[in-house]
Amino acid sequence: MSLELKNVEKKVGIETHIYSTNLKLEKNTINVLLGSTLAGKTTLMQIMAGLDKPTSGEIWFNDENVTGKEVQKRNCSMVYQQFINYPNFTVFENIASPLKITGVKPDEIKERVGKVAELLKLSAMLNKKPDELSGGQQQRTALARALVKDSDLILLDEPLANLDFKLREELREELPKLFEDRDCIVVYATTEPLDALMIGGNTATLLEGRIIQYGETLKVYNKPENLISAKVFSDPPMNIAEISKSGDMFKLKDYNVQWKSDIKIKDGDYKIGIRPHNITTYKEGNNSVEINGKVLISELSGSESLIHFTSGKLNWVSLSNGVQQKNIGENTKLFMNVDEFLYFDANNRLVTNG
């Protein structure tokens, strides 16, 4: 089982929503579409589901061209950011609705709905209507409706975005487990890098209608092919600065900051990407370099401290463990972990890391 997009392109009027895209999703995988709003995640999903037709290109499912096939005739299910349930059905009827339409026998419906409801902790609420439930329960009902059907393709369009923090954490942990032993392809759209990391599987980074990189989630995170992919897959935002290299000396341009490294790249100008957690108020790793900055804002969450500071012409973001009390305007010394730098060439391609 596989889903393949071949040169899929989507234009609306003169605007291009999706630039020519090739993507192959394999059986039993969870695939995260990671990108900010308007990156084209939802459009891609709608094309995958058959809710929307591509302007050009083809969609293949199991070696069958399904490009023009109506959504009703495909076996897929979708969960939305908004909690979409039939308003005047009970939870049971809601979960049972896709089965009823396909003519499953009442006994079997009861059994399957019961199973899914248990899995999603909805057993006690089967007789309630959606508007009597909390947001989390409504979204569980929508998830149950998607799971009960044994679809070949399950699409989740930012399913956790409208939930409050605690429920989001809870469901995020459960989600990968729900799909573990299912014979299907799962696609999960999100704006949050953390979602992608926690769900695992594969990740495609998207920007403005283009898939930048697709691969195993950790690979995409650790070895972003280019600067754009690295930026999309970094939250808080990645620090980017220009450097020059000669011999084994690296120097931050316009700064009095330099370090030694034995990575093998040609002498010349590069860009480096530094994830915020690699700039800390304390030394970390064997190889660190100091930078002086003036604190702009410090956000303390208890377990972490996010410190925005300005140094030279740029604003920087650092993320340290624990509570690091800094006052606004305070001059402070921070440490950058040289081993974790990502080096990009003039075309923004990753040359090497570490």
Partner: protein, 288 residues
Amino acid sequence: MNKTYNQKAWFFVIPVFVLVAFNAVVPLMTVVNYSFQETFGSNVFAWEGTRWFKQILHSERFHASLGRQFIFTFIILLIQLPLGIAIALTMPKKGWGVPVCLILMSMPLLIPWNVVGAMWNIFALPDIGFLGNSLNSLGFDYNFTQQSGDAWFTTILMDVWHWTSLVVLLSYAGLNSIQPAYYQAAEIDGASRWDIFRYIELPKMKKVLTLAILLRFMDSFMIYTEPFVLTGGGPGNATNFLSLDLVKMALGQFDLGPAAAMSLIYFLIVLLICWVFYSLMMKNEGRT
């Protein structure tokens, strides 16, 4: 704990009190006053107790016009609701068609009621009116001033023309508030067009439709101006609806007492039906 009592807030409520008193309470109490007394003008009153109420409730004339009123309202709702929903469903959701449709739909609502009556009167005249003349030349024996069936047909047609737009606009607003994701979710489930209407659109429109039914019920149940201009209640008493009858009694015959009693009964019927209907519709609404 010592609380400081400050009664100044009452001053803010006074304007509303005054307004409501003058436009609702005082006129209503005047009617109540009339309904229990006999008067021949010049502010001379004689106490009659509940006599007028008994008289009205046992009056065949009242029963007849009340019956006509119920039939009329029933037919109006039966036509306007499905028709209004159907038109709203076929209206475009985006593009240049939206303002065009909305303006066309609101037009009948903007025309003064007596103008609507006069318009339809001329339009339906059997000799010179476009509608009347066309029907007659097509071989129908149509004359709304002489045949009660034709008078009913014309009155209903006029009301449908005048007021269906209201149902359309309300339904359209209700339909537009449904997120596209609902339609997609239903399509993914494999739901048919009818399923989508029955299980998504209709429940989502419930509140605006309740409002539409209430408004159309009240307006059609109290209809006066248009039939007054169009048929004047005739031929005979064929289209003599409640409010027409009420005005005839009060101003034509100057029976102020019975007319006052009748208007109170009229008022209570409208109130009762609206209350029962609204309570039934909102019974299962829960927290929302």
